[in-house]
């Protein structure tokens, strides 16, 4: 298994430029109950244009690792670079768009107003803001909803608006923390399909946290399986599925084989204890 992983890395190293690189990253939270080791010895390379899923049970550190990439948490050991920079520097250069589990749209802004929030902060001109908002709303299939307020939209549409917001500026990394976790399965399937389309259109590098095995397998080019106490990587799986994936690919033997391996990885990490 380790040989497979190493081989996978080397393959990527040759084919793509590394965007995110972690070497022995550890992160210890100081809590009232003493120190908690959230991450331990995380080493990983993510190449440009990859779709990487982080999967594991609660407390395995998948969200913490994503937040560390976004410089929202700060590793206490090892080294982590984003676009060759320290995460905080990358954050200041607006290297990534971040999508949270909740849409987190401002209730006092319309959908268009919410999508242009980062553009206002970055300082785009009014004309360019309007142009970009129209473009990304179209990208997430929300054109015509710009003037609506968030509460007038369904949960799935709100989450699409929040993805549009993350896409509105030119970050070429998209970090998504269980973005569809709160949605029902039918909406989730459709959004997964749209997300793949969007990924193909934009060529962004995507880091995606999930606890759904089918979701991880369906979306990813690389699946990182993690386990808790301390949060660590138990397996890294390079997907053999083609880049273009219809929904029914999930019934193919290849898909099931990868899903099986993810499940094995989770079990190996005593994730079900």
């Amino acid at each position: 298994m380790a040989a497979f992983r190493r081989a996978g890395f080397e393959l990527k190293d040759l084919s793509a430029e590394t965007v995110i690189e972690a070497k022995g990253v550890g992160l210890v939270f100081q809590t009232d109950d003493g120190p908690v080791e959230a991450l331990k010895g995380i080493s990983l390379k993510i190449g440009r244009g990859e779709f990487v899923s982080f999967i594991g049970p609660s407390g395995c550190g998948k969200t913490t690792f994503l937040r560390a990439i976004a410089a929202l948490e700060h590793p206490t050991a090892g080294s982590l670079t984003v676009n060759g920079m320290a995460p905080d520097e990358a954050r200041r250069k607006r290297a990534y768009g971040y999508v949270f589990q909740a849409a987190g749209l401002y209730p006092w802004r319309t959908i268009a107003g919410n999508v242009q929030l980062p553009l206002e902060i970055i300082g785009f001109s009014r004309a360019e803001r309007a142009e970009r908002v129209a473009r990304v709303l179209k990208l997430v299939d929300l054109d015509g909803f710009g003037k609506k307020f968030p509460w007038q939209l369904s949960g799935g549409m709100q989450q699409r608006a929040s993805i549009a917001r993350a896409l509105a500026f030119d970050a070429d990394i998209l970090l998504m923390d269980e973005p569809f976790g709160a949605l029902d399965e039918i909406v989730r399937d459709r959004l997964n399909e749209e997300l793949l389309k969007l990924w193909a259109e934009t060529g962004k590098t995507i880091g995606f946290v999930t606890h759904s095995i089918p979701e991880a397998v369906y979306l990813s080019t690389k699946i990182v399986v993690m386990s808790p106490r301390p949060g660590r990587i138990t397996d890294v799986i390079e997907s053999t599925l083609p880049r273009v994936r219809p929904l029914d690919i999930r019934d193919s033997p290849e898909f099931l084989a990868i899903a099986h391996r993810v499940r094995e990885g989770l079990r190996a990490g005593h994730a079900y204890d």
Binding site: A70, R91, Y106, P107, W108, R109, I122
Partner: protein, 298 residues
């Protein structure tokens, strides 16, 4: 309109209780008078007399209403000094006194709200202010306003500041506190996720304030303003009491108590209560409009 019936029911109950209390409290005086005159009084005489004394312990509701009517509409329209005949508001009318109080209230409310918001901004953004200002703000409210008001009036008068400003300062002293507490809460209302989101855009503190903290605080602001404006009115009236001010609802209360004019006191009290209710309702109306425009349903 479903809410009208319960309100009217409560009002009716209060009026009935008030009449009952009027009879009970004023009966002693009626009996004393009868005893002095050497006559026997029956229940119907007691009833009639207690509800129509000129200086009752507790005036009957209709007496207070009549006094209100007399000292507003009748005074201004038919009085020699009323606005119809003299062109200026009569100094014997509650409209004039109410206006004096209202203007100081509004000025104090504006001061207090501004101060409360400024302090809240400081507290939210500076750890040092968070630790140092709040205890003092709380301490300031534990000092009885009745004890401080005369000193404020006297000290300011000695440096030549009289009239509206001292009263407004006392009003501000009472009204800044609810605004401060509400706005600190409001500015801190955004959750960690919303703050993280702005962090991913590398937004500055100023940007975060204008785009997130301030809009989030608006519902809290209006809740505080409703308390604050009522507190400002109380502060103004208290400010009118000690210095023997010649105008204002507070002055009216004071002169009423000097001369035992209970009906005048109650009329002024009712005028103050009406004014407070009106002000709170205006703030509520503005709240509905503003939150509606912001896409939030109040």
């Amino acid at each position: 309109m479903k809410s009208v019936l319960p309100i009217l029911t409560v009002l009716m109950a209060l009026v009935v209780l008030w009449y009952g209390a009027t009879v009970l409290l004023n009966a002693q005086w009626t009996r004393d008078q009868a005893a002095r005159a050497g006559v026997e009084v029956g229940f119907s005489e007691i009833l009639r007399d207690t509800l129509s004394q000129t200086r009752p312990k507790l005036p009957a509701p209709h007496q207070v209403v009549a006094e209100l009517w007399q000292s507003t509409w009748m005074e201004e329209v038919y009085g020699r000094r009323g606005i119809v005949q003299s062109g200026t508001l009569s100094n014997r009318s509650l409209i004039y006194h109410g206006w004096v109080t209202l203007s100081a209230t509004m000025l104090g409310f504006a001061f207090g709200t501004g101060l409360g918001i400024l302090l809240a901004v400081g507290i939210v953004h500076s750890k040092a202010m968070d630790l140092s200002v709040m205890p003092w703000a709380i301490a300031s409210q534990t000092v009885p306003i009745l004890a401080i008001a005369p000193m404020v009036i006297v000290v300011l008068a000695s440096i030549g500041i009289k009239g509206l400003i001292p009263k407004a300062i006392i009003a501000a002293y009472l009204s800044f506190f609810p605004v401060l507490v509400g706005m600190v809460k409001g500015f801190r209302a955004p959750d960690a996720m919303q703050l993280d989101l702005l962090k991913t855009y590398n937004a500055s503190r100023v940007g975060t304030f204008w785009r997130l903290r301030l809009p989030s605080s608006v519902p809290y602001l209006f809740a505080s303003l409703k308390v604050g404006i009522a507190a400002a009115l109380v502060g103004t009236i208290v400010g009118e009491l000690p210095a023997g001010a010649s105008a204002g609802l507070g002055a009216r209360l004071l002169s009423g108590s000097y001369y035992g004019q209970t009906i005048q006191i109650w009329a002024a009290l009712l005028a103050a209560a009406t004014l407070a209710a009106g002000l709170v309702m205006i703030v509520g109306a503005v709240e509905r409009v503003v939150l509606g425009r912001m896409g939030m349903r109040a």
